[in-house]
Amino acid sequence: MIHEAEILSQRRLAPDIYRLELFAPRVAEQAQPGQFLMVRTSISLDPFLRRPLSVNAVDRRRGAVVLLYRVVGRGTRLLAERKLGKRLNVVGPLGRSFTVPLSGPVVLVAGGLGIAPLFFLAEVCRQRGNEVILFYGARSQEELVLRRELEDMGVKVFLATDDGSLGERGTVVELLKKKGLPPAAPVYAAGPPPMLKALAGTLKDMGREAEFSLEERMGCGVGACRGCAVKVREGENFVYRRVCTDGPVFKAGEVVWE
């Protein structure tokens, strides 16, 4: 479960967005879309905790695992400075993956770095033969990373940007409402909480089932510390579930949005 993974490549795709390729054959073999790794970004005691990052892609043949991340704080900044050939200590793959029907169309909805797990899901679905429709939103054109690769693998991509620099101007949820969904296709989404909340409302109105990948600050990543609570409906009441092991993939309908 713990791997000292060599950094095979690290590329900047947009001003703050990096794609990192690790040599970790065991992870490459086992990982499923929606799962994540706990990455040790520092070599000192500050920052102290690992950072959760979704598996963005795997190349089983080469034993490679790909991460896609945005630099938002100290941990990700340190990661961006890591050099080729150095080793990164990662734990995983962790968490529950998406559940996908064996055939038929699927709809993916990605907000910003939400594309990280959904790219992997798109890839697996395309290999299986599912039709894949992706609604993909970001702040601006340059942050719509990996869109070419997605188109190349035959994903039907609809784009939205906050500034209108590519695709529709506006949110990805507005775009989805405008374009509509193929009947009965299950929906998979990842992105910032406000987007997911809006999407949950829209999908409820449409009477659609969906699986969302959620984020919360994590301690252990393995279900022990109870640090990563998410509020989930239970009958009339609610309980807290662990994002790390009960998720990170949850049914959209069960999440209680604050």
Binding site: D46, F48, L49, V91, C220, R226, G227, C228, A229, T245
Partner: protein, 308 residues
């Protein structure tokens, strides 16, 4: 080189095969870490604090990272003693010959007594009374008042009988922890677990609000290690009772430092979050370090730090 002896005792009725244990709340109920190593190879697994009824815990966010530390407000989320006794402890025992130490939390003397008895009956090797959880309403009530600490300790001692080993776990902020510790020991506690997290908070400056869902939390990790060593050293000198020392342990050096200050066992807490195999690595590393230094028995080190 001869293999050094690692076994330690925490009083006459609790012998651990080595002095490295897990800290309550950072190792779940042990099962979560079974994929990372043989739980029976650890000195003991101290499980998450258990209450009479299930508790769902505090609203998120529950964890924030601070400089070289972790601030948590889990709020004693646990499935309640019934489920722990019926389902979790049997599953834990099924993984091998694990030494399990239970951890008890409560809001009343009766709750402590009831949970302690149920865990003891379920066959745990020893108990920790958590009198110092900063993240629930009455969490530090008993740990801040020598009289209340004595009261709950005495009640638990009477209920468990003379021989059952249990330690009282205390924090050191906002209370005269030595007075509380002394009262608990005089009331029948076998020893002490030191230290629980320090109270703390973090601010979301942008939104002008407290960052943790619960507002305040408890600080742990390397940041607090100097305070934890001091507390263990003081308590050892004053009270000469068995102590499980903890606070910021991440290395074999840290384990040795706690032992030298008077801890008979050392618990690994937040360190496990950053390094999932840490407890096992410390058992191995300790054995190697002692062999290298020619120490035949780890007990030779306990309390042996010189002042000058």
């Amino acid at each position: 080189m001869k293999k050094p002896r690692l076994a330690v005792d925490l009083g006459p009725n609790l012998i651990l095969k080595n002095p490295v244990v897990t800290a309550s709340g950072t190792f779940g109920f042990g099962l979560e870490y079974a994929p990372f190593g043989d739980l029976a190879a650890l000195g003991a697994v101290v499980i998450k604090s258990v209450t009479r009824h299930p508790r769902r815990g505090n609203p998120p966010p529950r964890l924030v990272e601070t400089p070289a530390g972790v601030l948590n407000s889990i709020g004693l989320e646990n499935p309640g003693v019934e489920k722990v006794v019926k389902e979790i402890l049997p599953a834990l025992r099924a993984t091998g010959k694990v030494t399990v130490i239970g951890s008890v939390a409560g809001e009343t003397v009766e709750e402590y007594v009831e949970v302690a008895c149920r865990l003891a009956e379920a066959g745990v090797a020893a108990l920790e009374l958590n009198l110092s959880c900063p993240n629930v309403k009455a969490g530090t009530l008993f740990g801040h008042d020598p009289l209340l600490a004595a009261q709950v300790t005495r009640a638990v001692r009477e209920a468990l009988g003379d021989d059952f080993p249990f330690l009282v776990k205390l924090g050191v902020v906002g209370n005269d922890f030595l007075a509380v510790a002394r009262a608990a020991v005089e009331a029948g506690a076998t020893g002490l677990s030191l230290i629980n997290t320090l109270p703390g908070l973090a601010v979301d400056v942008k939104r002008r609000k407290l960052l943790l869902g619960h507002g305040t939390g408890g600080l742990s990790g390397p940041a607090i290690k100097p305070v934890a060593l001091w507390a263990v050293w003081r308590a050892h000198r004053e009270l000469q009772v068995p102590i499980i020392g903890m606070g910021g342990v991440v290395s074999v050096e840290d384990v040795l430092a706690f032992l030298l200050c008077g801890a008979r066992a050392v618990a690994v807490g937040s360190g496990t979050l950053a390094f999932p195999r840490l407890a096992w690595e410390l058992v191995e590393g300790l054995e190697q370090a002692l062999a290298k230094e020619g120490v035949e028995d780890v007990r030779e080190l306990i309390g042996m730090v010189a002042e000058k």
